[in-house]
């Protein structure tokens, strides 16, 4: 990790380490200057009873000078370390989010939104967080070595005290971190659990309220909050044991220096200057040595974060685009064909088989035709829609546009040819205009308005406070479901696709409007190119508009043909599309029966 940090930001790392080393050496120097001032300036002055102005000025200048230099060291160290941390974080956020854009949707499906969010945010942060204090740790190490060396130069006996105290301080720190880590991890886990309960409980607030379960929910929350409390108290107690000890140890060292120093002073081995210097050194070194402990405590968190970031960066399975383009001059509708397409979702765990979603799917949407895809929930209709616009690639078989395998097309050619309107409309947190144009070339305000008109969305957009400039999305104006659906429809239409795939995308739109939209697509009034249409639908009104119906069940094409034909020959299809009528007939029969029996008079049996 450290090596990676140095490789990526060598200059800044050098600045941070130099600043840190400078700071460390100055800390040692300050101790000796302080000792020197006492021994060489104060004691003689007091003994002689007069002030040597020159030496005094020099002493003051030295103390002040060291402070100024230390400020330089602090700037180098903290600015360097901070910049390095933030730049590394930014660089890795960029890399992680690039991977998100490159990796296939299948990979996205395997990872929850929450996980991907924290990979790019808190995991990156955790991975590089301990980097900031690392130069400081390096500087502290240099400082410790320098301090012990300077102690040996001064006096071996005092050096021995140092050799006893500093390693003990370091060891105590390591023990502290080791014992703290599992407690912190437990507290962190419990925090997540408490948060999980709160999330779920508030999400289901209406159910809790209407069933009067507030007390039970509170008890459930309180139990976990109590565990968290106990975990935090245990963290606090450990802190209570170690913090004061770490505080006291260097003080005891200073006291030992006083005793040992006095003995050595009597033996004439050292001077008062040296005694005061060493005592001072113990005091100023205490804090940096403790700070190393904080770095050590953070390291496990960093490793865990880094592992999760690596998992994203090392993930494979990009969907590379090809090099072929479809003739851009052609504004004729495209032909879509599925050739024996199989598709399975990748398993959650490697040894399990993936769930087979589609098998042996073969069909064609001829140029300029409208094909309806009908089938029960979970039969694979949305997967077919995704394959048609190459959101995913088939496990076996081919999907072609005008005879060219979609895997061979460039990204631009593919996006320019087909457009998908998904079941759940997705709106960016941006203006209406940006949501529709998406910075695509050749889509100006006129094209945007034309697309809005075609999607029957021009009316409500014109009524928005800022028209096309109105912010929509999470923090903008809240639009209704139908309005969002029509915006995403307009987004698809603005690109003048040659094939339009509608995945139950008009469920919130009035049937009359839907019919108008579909008609407009097939024969544009403004002379633009018409489009082929693949539409996933439940409504009979929609199905009736299609030239052909493809009926799927459990991932297989069961039947294809005209609506009336399928109605007569395919029982499953008939059951699905006429479910309402059947239910109604049953009810009518039942009602007739129910009503007739008690009312033998027959007065009400007019139906």
């Amino acid at each position: 990790m450290l090596g990676r940090a140095i490789r990526e930001q060598p200059r800044i790392f050098a600045v941070a380490v130099s600043g840190s080393v400078l700071f460390g050496l100055l800390v040692i120097a300050s101790a000796y200057v302080a000792g020197g001032v006492v021994g060489k300036v104060v004691v003689p002055a007091v003994e002689r009873g007069e002030v040597a102005r020159g030496t005094l000025a020099l002493a003051a200048a030295a103390l002040l000078g060291i402070s100024v230099l230390r400020v330089v060291g602090i700037f180098g160290r903290r600015l360097g370390a901070g910049y390095m941390q933030y730049r590394l974080q930014a660089a890795y956020r960029r890399r992680v989010t690039r991977r998100y854009l490159e990796l296939p949707l299948a990979w996205h499906h395997r990872n929850s939104t929450g996980t991907l969010l924290s990979n790019a945010n808190s995991d990156v942060e955790a991975a590089w967080y301990p980097i900031a204090p690392l130069p400081f740790a390096v500087g502290t190490l240099v400082m410790l070595v320098g301090a012990v060396a300077s102690l040996f130069v001064t006096d071996w006996a005092l050096a021995l005290v140092g050799l006893a105290v500093f390693p003990a301080l370091f060891a105590l720190n390591v023990v502290y971190s080791r014992r703290m880590a599992p407690r912190q991890a437990r507290a962190q886990r419990l925090r997540a659990e408490v948060s999980g309960i709160a999330h779920e409980s508030f999400d289901g607030a209406l159910v809790v309220k209407t069933m009067g379960r507030e007390a039970q929910e509170t008890a459930r929350f309180a139990a976990r909050a109590g565990e968290l409390r106990d975990a935090l108290i245990s963290v606090g107690r450990l802190r209570g044991v170690f913090d004061p000890m770490l505080e006291t140890l260097p003080s005891l060292g200073t006291l030992a220096v006083l005793v040992v120093g006095a003995i050595r002073l009597r033996q004439g081995a050292i001077t008062v200057t040296e005694l005061v210097s060493v005592a001072f050194l113990f005091t100023v070194l205490a804090f940096p040595v403790r700070a190393i402990g904080w770095v050590l405590a953070e390291l496990p968190r960093s490793v865990a974060g880094w592992d999760r970031v690596r998992r994203v960066l090392d993930a494979t399975g990009e969907m590379p685009y090809g090099t072929r383009t479809l003739d851009p001059a052609t504004r004729t509708p495209a032909t879509l064909a599925f050739h024996d397409v199989h598709f399975a979702y990748e398993p959650a765990e490697a040894h399990l088989p993936g769930a087979q979603v589609l098998g042996e799917v073969t069909f064609t949407v001829p140029a300029g035709k409208t094909v309806a895809l009908v089938g029960p929930t979970g039969s694979g209709k949305s997967t077919i829609a995704s394959l048609a616009v190459r959101l995913v690639d088939p496990g076996a078989g081919r999907v072609t546009l005008d005879g060219v395998d979609v895997r061979e097309l460039t990204a631009a050619s593919l996006a320019g040819t087909v457009a998908l309107v998904a079941q759940v409309p997705f709106v960016f947190d941006d203006t209406v205009r940006a949501n529709i144009a998406l910075d695509r070339a050749g889509i100006g305000d006129d094209e945007v308005w034309a697309a809005l008109r075609l999607a029957e969305a021009d009316g409500f957009v014109a009524a928005l406070p800022d028209g096309l400039d109105t912010m929509v999305g999470e923090r903008g104006t809240s639009l209704s479901g139908g309005q969002r659906q029509r915006l995403t429809l307009a987004r698809a239409l603005a690109g003048r696709p040659r094939l339009l795939v509608l995945d139950d995308a008009t469920s919130a739109v009035d049937p009359r409007v839907e019919a108008a939209i579909l008609a407009g697509l097939r024969a544009p009034a403004d002379g633009g190119g018409p489009a082929s249409i693949l539409v996933v639908a439940y409504r009979r009104a929609t199905i009736a508009l299609a030239d052909e119906v493809i009926y799927v069940e459990q991932g297989r094409v069961v039947a294809r043909g005209a609506h009336t034909e399928l109605l007569a020959t395919v029982p499953g299809y008939a059951d699905l599309v006429t479910a309402y009528e059947q239910a109604e007939q049953e009810r009518e029969q039942k009602q007739t029966y129910d009503e007739v029996t008690p009312l033998a008079s027959g007065l009400e049996v007019e139906r």
């Binding site: 006492v38 104060v42 004691v43 007091v46 002493a59 003051a60 002040l64 060291i66 402070s67 230390r70 400020v71 602090i74 600015l79 910049y83 933030y86 998100y100 854009l101 949707l105 996205h108 991907l116 948060s195 289901g204 209406l206 159910v207 009067g212 379960r213 507030e214 909050a225 409390r229 963290v235 606090g236 107690r237 209570g240 044991v241 913090d243 505080e247 006291t248 003080s251 005891l252 200073t254 006291l255 006083l258 005793v259 006095a262 002073l265 005694l275 005091t283 804090f287 929930t377 593919l414 998904a422 997705f426 695509r440 139950d504 699905l576 479910a579 309402y580 239910a583 109604e584 009810r587």
Partner: protein, 596 residues
Amino acid sequence: MSATTAEADRSTETTESTWQTLRRGLALSPELRTGLAGTLALALVYMVGRVAVPVAVQRGIDHGIVGGLDLNVISLTVAITAGVLVVTTACGYLMMRRLFTVSETALAGVRTRAFRHVHDLSMLHQQSERRGSLVSRVTSDVDQITQFLQWGGVILIVNLGQLLVTTAVMLAYSWQLTLVVLVAFAPAVVVARQLQRRLAGAYGLVRQRTGTLLGAIGESVVGAPVIRAYGIAGRTARRLDTAIDGQRVAQQRAIRISIMGSSVGELAAGLALAGVVVVGVSLGVDRTLSVGQLTAFLFLVTLFIQPVQIATEVLNEAQNAIAGWRRVLDVLDVSPDVADPGEQGRELPPGPLDARFAGVTFAYPGGPPVLHDVTLDIPAKSRVAVVGETGSGKTTFAKLLTRLMDPTEGAVLLSGVDLRQVRFDSLRSRVVMVPQDGFLFDATVGENVRFARPDLTDERLTAAFGELGLADWLDGLPSGLDTPVGERGEALSVGERQLVALARAYVADPDLLVLDEATSAVDPATEVRLQRTLDAVTRGRTTLAIAHRLSTAQAADEVIVVDRGRIVQRGPHDELVRDTDSVYALLYASWLEQTR
């Protein structure tokens, strides 16, 4: 410039009310005061340990070194100081132990109380806040306080004490030198205050930019299919880069200000040390100050500088913690406007319930009325469907009948008792609502159905599914009643979730059932199955259904047609469709068009 002023204004505002927040917080958690005096006394003793070394150095030098070396004096001084350190260390441990035990216990209490309070708030209040922000009140906001107390709080207490004790010892040695130190630090304190304000602003900007970044990342993750389908990865990458760099620049700005804070402290320390030496030597020459005292002063100045250096950072954290506390208190301060009458409340009379809306008008706070003077009787055991366009006010009926809201004028009565007088435990056990999205908890199917009746056995639940005609569906689940439904029930399909929600209402066995029908699209076959289950659940109970599917209305005893907050038609389905120009007939025609 104006931005800086605005930031400063904001931080002044918050410092002004910091004490008020603390007072409010203490009033709410009186247990925080438990043993506070003892804890502070222990903290003070702990602080004495910090000045023990400089005092020992002074005594050692003055009495054992300067003017004749005396090992006995030094040994005695060191022995006594070591003893003092052992005692102060022990006090430090006791102080932290008490502090953490009391504060964590109190805050766990606040957390739980806030949680309950959120549930007690009316639905209107709950929905006026973004759900995530309500969760923050009982999670990150409280975490912020406990984390501060565990780290910054202790540092703040210890350093404040250190400042006091150090100043006291310095004064005891020499008031002149103390004055020198204070004068040297005075500008630093002024500058640090300024910097702390700017730092608060800078951190605010970091938080805001982090929010923007999270939004951008979220969009790139949730919108992945759209980004891919429209080939706009480049555009998305540019937006992400802008957000990432925006955050980085803000972070770098914050750290620059923070470094200035510590630099100012460092320079002040150098100034103080130089001043102490210069003035101290003059005093020493005059014999008003001993060598030991002067040396001790050098030690004391380093103790004095630490709190000043840490102050900018810790104070900033303190502000965050206080802000978190304030947000929690603010939630607790909202009084539930739809409150349980509690002990004074009445029980609903036993037996089937009838419902009556008596001259009910309802308006959302600050909005126009959504219901105008509605009077409606729903006889016991009848099934009533309320229909109308989106925005006609039809769901308001359900919310008033379950007392999720109270009418602005008029009253809602159940078997003659005003709902506002009915105790919640009586109301909730007799009146059950099935909300639109059929929310499920991350547990098993059985646990979800048992939600309102934890005492029911598995046999009883299985029987209930049978009575609803869902026995084969239950058998089809991988582990029957023990099948986990996943987060928010997402392991089940939308239709299946609604089936479980209906079963949950069925076993609660209410006398009045209120249904807010789901609008989400399920395939027609699933919809028909839902309809059949619905028929079974409502049989023999007073039922009010907010009908989005007109098949529900067809099956009801009476249909209430609502338009712009008024009842415009009522009667059985067959009668209402006869008038082909009526609101209901038009709704029905449009419904037919959609389903055929």
